[in-house]
Amino acid sequence: MPLLEVENLRKQFGGLMAVDDVSFRVHRDQIKALIGPNGAGKTTLFNALTGVDKPTSGKVLFDGADITGKRAHEVAEIGIARTFQNTQIFANMNVLENVMVGRHCQTKSGIFSCMLGLPSVRREDLESEERAYSLLTLVGLEKKAKSSSDDLPVGERHLLEIARALATEPKLILLDEPAAGLNNEETSRLSDTIYRIRGNGVTVLLVEHDMGLVMEISDEVVVLNFGKKIAEGPPLLIQQDEQVIQAYLGQEIEHA
C-alpha cells in the first residue's frame, strides 16, 4: 500500500483551477519531487494535502485512511509534517523553542498540569529539549539554538523549518523549496540531510526549483503545469519528456 495517495484532487480559487484533477502516489521511503513552473499549483497542492486549505474535490489517502478535509493539526498528528515556501518561523521564540513547538504532537501535558508545574511536565520538557537539540544538530543549526530565530537568514530559516517539522516525528515530510536562499555548498549539505531524513524512515515529498538537486536526489518526479499533472516518472525520463521541456521552455533543466 502506498503511503500517500492523491486521487483526482482539485482546488479552485474563483475562476482559477489552481490544482486540476491531480493524482499520484508516494511510496514508503521514497524521495519524490513535485516540480513545475511558477504558479503551477505546487504550494496549493501542499496546502490541500495538509489541511491548510480544503480541497474543492478529490481524495487524499494516507496509510490507507481517508484524510481529505482534515484540519491542519489533525494532519500533523496523523504523521504528515511540512515546511513553508514563505517561511513561517515563530519570530517570538528562539531557534530551539521553535523546534520544541514541533514536539507538540509527541507530548500531552494540558494547561492544568502545566499550570501546576507537575514533574511529568518537566520530564516531557527535558525530553523535548533534547530531541529538538539533536534535530538542530541534524540540520546544522545547533550552534544557533539559543539565538533569536528572527535573526536567521532565509536559508537557515528553511533548515529550521525542516528541524521543526521533523520534531513532530512524521512518516511523511513535505518540503516546499527548501533550497531557496542556500548557496551551492549549503545545497549539497541539504541533499545529505534529506538522504539522512529518508534513512531515518521518513518519506520525503519535495517541491524544488533547483533542478540539480531534484534530479540528483529524487527517486521519482511529478510535473505540474497550470494545475495539471503533465508527467510522472524517474528523473532521467522526466528530463527527456517533450511536454516537460515544453513547459519549461526557456528554463534549463538538464544540468543535473
Binding site: V101, C105, C114
Partner: protein, 335 residues
C-alpha cells in the same frame, strides 16, 4: 546544556521569592489604610494583567473588554453574598464559574475573528455587559450598585480590614504568578506563542489553535473575575462605574507598558501604572485620555515595554563587559 537550563529556572524562582517577600514587607512600612487600599488595588491589577498578558502578549489575541470580566467577578460575588447569603468564599467560587462560563461562550465566536475585529468584538461585549450592570436593577442594584459585600473569613478570622485582606490578596497574587510562569515556560506556553507567531505553522505542528485560544481567553477571564471578586470584598460595594471602557483600556495599557510576552512585564506594568494612576487621581476625569496617550506612546517608542527595554539594556551591558579582554576568560560554561 540541560544544566544551564535548570540554572535559569532556579534563578526565576529566586525572583519570585524576592518579589513575594518585597510585597509582604511593603505593608509593614506603610501602616496606613489609604496606602493599604492602593496596594490591594495594585495586587488585583497585577493578577488581572498577568492574565491579559498571557492572552495578548503570549497568544497574540487582543481584548479591549476585560473590564467586563472584572465586573462579572465583582457582581457575581456581591450578588451571591448579599442576595443569596452565601459566604464570601462561595462568592469567589461563583465568580470563577460564572466568569469562566461567560468567557467560554464569548470565546467560541469571538476568537474566530482576528486583530481589529477581535478588539471590536470584545469592546462591544464589554459595553453590553456594562449596560446590563446598570439595567438589570433587580439583581445588580442599577446605578446604586450593591452594598454590604462581606469579607471572607476562615475559622473565625475575617479578612475584614485592608491589612488583613491584603494577606489574602497577596497569597492569590503569588499563586497566580507562579501558575502563569509555569504555563509560560511549558508546552502550552510555547503553543500559545506559536499561535501568535504564525497560526498556520502552529496548526501544522499539531497545535489545535482554536482550543488554545479559547483556553487562554477563559483563563484570562477567570483571573479578571478573581480580581473583581477580591475588589468587591475590599470595597464592600460594587457599582457599574468601576467597570467601564476606561478600565479596559487601562488594563491593556498596563500590559503593553510593562512588556508583552513576559509574565514579569505584567507585574512591572501593573505596579508602575497603578502607582501613577494614584498620583494622577485629581485628573481622574481625563483617565481615558491619559492612558490612551500612554498606550500609543508605549506602542510607538517602547513596543517591548519596560521589561523589554531593561532586558535589552542588560544584554548590551553584558556584551560590553564581555568584550573587555580581562574578563573574556570568565565566559566559561555559562552557555
Amino acid at each position: 546544556m540541560t544544566s544551564g537550563r535548570r540554572g535559569r529556572l532556579n534563578k526565576q524562582w529566586l525572583w519570585v521569592g524576592l518579589y513575594a517577600l518585597t510585597m509582604a514587607i511593603i505593608p509593614n512600612v506603610l501602616a496606613n489604610n489609604y496606602y493599604m487600599k492602593m496596594l490591594i488595588v495594585l495586587a488585583i491589577n497585577t493578577i488581572i494583567v498577568i492574565g491579559l498578558n498571557l492572552l495578548m502578549g503570549y497568544a497574540g489575541q487582543v481584548s479591549l473588554g476585560h473590564a467586563a470580566f472584572y465586573g462579572i467577578g465583582a457582581y457575581s460575588s456581591a450578588i451571591m453574598t448579599t442576595k443569596y447569603g452565601m459566604s464570601a468564599w462561595l462568592g469567589i467560587v461563583a465568580a470563577i464559574l460564572v466568569g469562566g462560563l461567560v468567557a467560554y461562550l464569548i470565546a467560541i465566536p469571538a476568537l474566530r475573528l482576528k486583530g481589529h475585529y477581535l478588539a471590536m468584538a470584545t469592546l462591544g461585549f464589554a459595553e453590553i455587559v456594562h449596560i446590563l450592570f446598570i439595567e438589570l436593577r433587580e439583581i445588580t442594584g442599577g446605578t446604586d450598585g450593591l452594598y454590604g459585600v462581606p469579607a471572607p473569613s476562615i475559622a473565625g478570622f475575617a479578612f475584614d480590614t485592608p491589612q488583613r485582606l491584603y494577606v489574602l490578596v497577596w497569597m492569590v497574587l503569588v499563586i497566580c504568578l507562579v501558575m502563569a510562569l509555569n504555563i509560560a515556560k511549558s508546552r502550552v506556553g510555547r503553543a500559545l506563542r506559536a499561535v501568535h507567531g504564525s497560526e498556520i505553522a502552529a496548526a501544522s505542528m499539531g497545535v489545535d489553535t482554536a482550543k488554545y485560544k479559547i483556553q487562554v481567553f477563559v483563563l484570562s477571564g477567570i483571573l479578571a473575575c478573581v480580581g473583581g471578586s477580591l475588589y468587591a470584598s475590599m470595597a464592600g460595594y460594587v457599582s457599574s462605574e468601576s467597570f467601564t471602557l476606561t478600565v479596559s483600556i487601562t488594563l491593556v495599557t498596563m500590559a503593553v507598558c510593562g512588556g508583552m510576552g513576559n509574565v514579569w512585564g505584567a507585574v512591572i506594568g501593573a505596579s508602575t501604572l497603578t502607582i501613577m494612576q494614584e498620583y494622577l487621581k485629581s485628573y481622574n476625569d481625563y483617565n481615558l485620555v491619559i492612558f490612551g496617550a500612554i498606550l500609543i506612546l508605549a506602542m510607538v517608542f517602547m513596543p517591548q515595554g519596560i521589561y523589554g527595554a531593561f532586558s535589552d539594556l542588560a544584554k548590551k551591558l553584558k556584551h560590553r563587559l564581555q568584550a573587555i579582554p580581562e574578563t573574556a576568560g570568565e565566559q566559561h560554561a555559562a552557555s
